[in-house]
């Protein structure tokens, strides 16, 4: 359900401002809103503004430092509330840690860069090696290595043609194809002509092989050896740096994170005041909070601050009632399903939260589709295995939902008498409802589920429309219910479940429903009303998927077992059957989930659900993450 909210106003003398903010922060149940327009904004005093800027800077530095330190197992740290002392401590720690941590991180990054680029140098140098053997290295001469894409190898000849004039014929140039795509060239010339030649190479846009500075004037063979040695040393060095970073993290990370949390809390305490209003002697704050917490907060304020602060509940305007922040509060069993409702949208304040109903129907639908003792038990085993491992909240919710689903699958498996498909009969499982044979009753059963859930949806929709005074929605839903009852009666009358004479009154009722719907929808309703009513019938027929998807899984299991029998060999047959059952199980988890979700989102929610709720974000202390 959606928790009832109150809009509150807190008024107090300015002397009690700090104490009040602290009580609100500790309580953590109020979402502070912008001040009323009639009151001036509260201006932060110089000291608070100064503290805010200082803390913001510190938090930014802490963020940067924490991003450098690897995550280690947290240790428990006592939290301090004396912010001024803390700020001093943080500054000292940052001064001590910033340089070494950044140094380590930089060395790690350099190593990583070397690890990526050095092999590239090595490859190029290996390509150039055969050339360098032809040229002796000479003092006062410069060697330039060029790599040219083979398509442009003509450019090397152009350079060769220009060189005599530039260097007075004092040069040596050799070139050859080093692989399919590249031509390499080595050029040796006196240092005196260096500028002229580099200008020429630049003009022709030829890529020169640039080596790391320390390798520039070293013979290729030595340079290559140096590179190899360096590459070999990288892993050990990287591990050492990683080790040092871990040591630093173990010592500091938890403490730094705790400090950051305290500082952020303090920052929020300062910043929240910017939403307050103020007069010369008083301040005023407005906000939303759960109704049930109001008196507790009032008591807490009275205890900690005294009589100079008043908390009042404000009457709600229609607009406010629609836009109040939303808190979902459901029984523990149903709570994981809030996740699925949120996946669709957060319900708007004042509407119905479908979580508990989803918690009942969704696992039943899933079980009805999968309906196999063995598959259910496998899913159950998997869920229990994963539930024991650490995981995120979202994952835990999904697993809990799957747990319910697996239990219902086993239950329906007993009803259908299925154990890896029709293997159940061979091991003595007695089917109460063999769905592979009783297809038509299964269809009827699914449709019955559809009628129940759609009717429930309409009932909720009608209740909600009355509660929210939505006249059009109310008429629309009533008209559809009338039409639906009429259609069901007509079907019953023509199939003999109701006396034949009932057909005509039912038809009349259908016309009444259609006309009412036309009236609700306006002129366009002349066209839309019959379509909408057909849509409702389609919604119910859509529940056929509960039967159909399940049957396809039964047939696939049957194929698996039959195919296994064909081979006449226990081992091959077993493997084939195992593969097919694995495929069937994978499909059997995925598609019932999506199908039952869809039945809720489209068919059921469509009758009453209104999304667009605003998440409740209370002003509260941060946990140490």
């Amino acid at each position: 359900m959606i928790v009832p909210m109150s809009k509150i106003q807190i008024i107090g003398t300015r002397a009690e401002l700090d104490a009040t903010v602290r009580v609100l922060h500790d309580a953590g149940v109020v979402q502070i809103e912008e001040k009323p327009a009639a009151v001036d904004a509260l201006i932060l005093d110089a000291r608070a503004a100064h503290q805010r800027d200082g803390i913001t800077a510190l938090v930014t530095r802490l963020d940067a430092l924490l991003a450098l330190l690897p995550v280690v197992a947290p240790t428990q740290i006592a939290r301090r509330d004396d912010v001024d002392v803390l700020i001093g401590q943080v500054k000292a720690a940052l001064a001590q840690l910033d340089a070494p941590a950044q140094n380590l991180a930089r060395r790690r990054d350099d190593l990583e860069a070397d690890r990526v680029t050095l092999p590239r140098y090595a490859k190029t140098m290996r390509q150039l090696m055969p050339l360098s053997a032809e040229l002796a290295l000479m003092q006062n001469y410069e060697t330039v290595a060029l790599l040219v894409d083979r398509k442009f190898s003509a450019v090397i000849e152009m350079v060769r043609a220009e060189l005599p004039a530039l260097t007075n014929d004092e040069f040596e140039m050799v070139s050859r194809e080093v692989d399919r795509d590249t031509t390499a060239a080595l050029l040796v010339f006196p240092r005196a002509h260096s500028t002229a030649i580099h200008t020429l190479l630049g003009r022709e846009s030829i890529t020169q092989v640039r080596l790391p500075d320390e390798l520039v004037n070293v013979p290729f063979k030595e340079a290559l050896a140096t590179i190899q040695a360096r590459l070999a040393a990288i892993p050990a060095e990287a591990e050492k740096i990683q080790h040092e970073l871990h040591a630093l993290a173990r010592e500091w990370r938890a403490r730094l994170a705790a400090w950051r949390a305290v500082l952020r809390d303090r920052l929020r305490e300062i910043e929240v005041r910017e939403k307050f209003g103020a007069t010369e002697y008083a301040f005023v704050a407005v906000g939303w909070m759960p109704q049930k917490n109001v008196s507790a907060l009032r008591d807490a304020l009275a205890r900690a601050v005294g009589e100079n602060v008043l908390l009042d509940e404000l009457p709600l305007t229609a607009h406010e009632r629609e836009h109040a922040p939303v808190v979902l509060d459901n029984p523990r069993v149903a709570r994981p399903f809030e996740f699925l409702v949120r996946l669709m949208a957060l319900p708007r304040y004042g509407t119905i939260d479908p979580t508990p109903i989803m918690a009942i129907f969704l696992p039943i639908f899933f079980g009805m589709i999968l309906g196999d003792v063995a598959y259910g038990a496998l899913v159950l085993g998997g869920v229990i295995y994963f539930l024991r491992k650490p995981k995120s909240d979202g994952m835990r919710n999904l697993l809990t939902i799957m747990l319910y689903c697996a239990l219902w699958s086993i239950a329906f498996g007993f009803v259908y008498g299925e154990f890896f498909g029709e293997l159940g009969e061979h091991i003595g499982l007695h089917p109460y409802f063999p769905r592979g044979e009783a297809v038509v009753p299964l269809f009827a059963f699914s449709i019955a589920f559809g009628i129940v859930q759609i009717a429930l949806g309409f009932a909720l929709g009608i209740y909600q429309a009355i509660k929210l005074h939505q006249r059009n929605e109310l008429l629309d839903r009533i008209a559809k219910v009338i039409a639906l009852i009429a259609i069901l009666a007509m079907v019953a009358a023509s199939s003999g479940a109701l006396p034949k004479e009932m057909f005509t009154p039912a038809l009349a009722l259908l016309i009444v429903g259609t006309v009412l719907l036309m009236y609700t929808l306006g002129w366009i309703g002349l066209l839309l009303a019959p379509i909408e009513i057909l849509g409702v019938v389609g919604n119910i027929l859509s529940y056929l998927r509960l039967a159909a998807i399940g049957l396809s899984s039964v047939y696939l299991a049957m194929v698996a077992n039959k195919l296994a029998g064909i081979f006449g060999n226990v081992i091959i047959g077993g493997i084939v059957a195992g593969l097919f059952h694995a495929l069937n199980l994978a499909l059997g988890i995925l598609s019932p989930t999506i199908q039952s979700l869809r039945l809720h989102y489209v068919e059921f929610f469509g009758k009453f659900f209104e999304g667009g709720g605003v998440e409740f974000k209370p002003f509260r202390r941060e946990g140490i993450g």
């Binding site: 669709m344 297809v439 038509v440 027929l541 859509s542 056929l544 999506i594 199908q595 979700l597 989102y601």
Partner: protein, 71 residues
């Protein structure tokens, strides 16, 4: 003869419905992937939109089953 015609009818009911569903889901799926890439919070809505045409094949299957099973 009649059994054969019934089987062909059932096959058409499932097959044609599957083609229709496939065409629709293909378009919705590609649009949905694009939309989710820009706004990941649309996942819920996209699942719904993607699942809507599935009703066609389900109904096709139901019709086929009734053709074959209801005498």
């Amino acid at each position: 003869m009649e059994t054969g015609l019934l089987a062909i009818g059932a096959g058409l009911a499932v097959g044609l419905a599957a083609i229709g569903t496939g065409l629709a889901q293909g378009r919705i799926g590609s649009a949905g992937a694009g939309a989710i890439a820009e706004k990941p919070e649309l996942v819920g809505t996209m699942i719904i939109l993607l699942a809507i045409p599935e009703t066609m094949i389900i109904l096709g299957f139901a019709v086929a089953a009734i053709i074959l099973l209801v005498k």
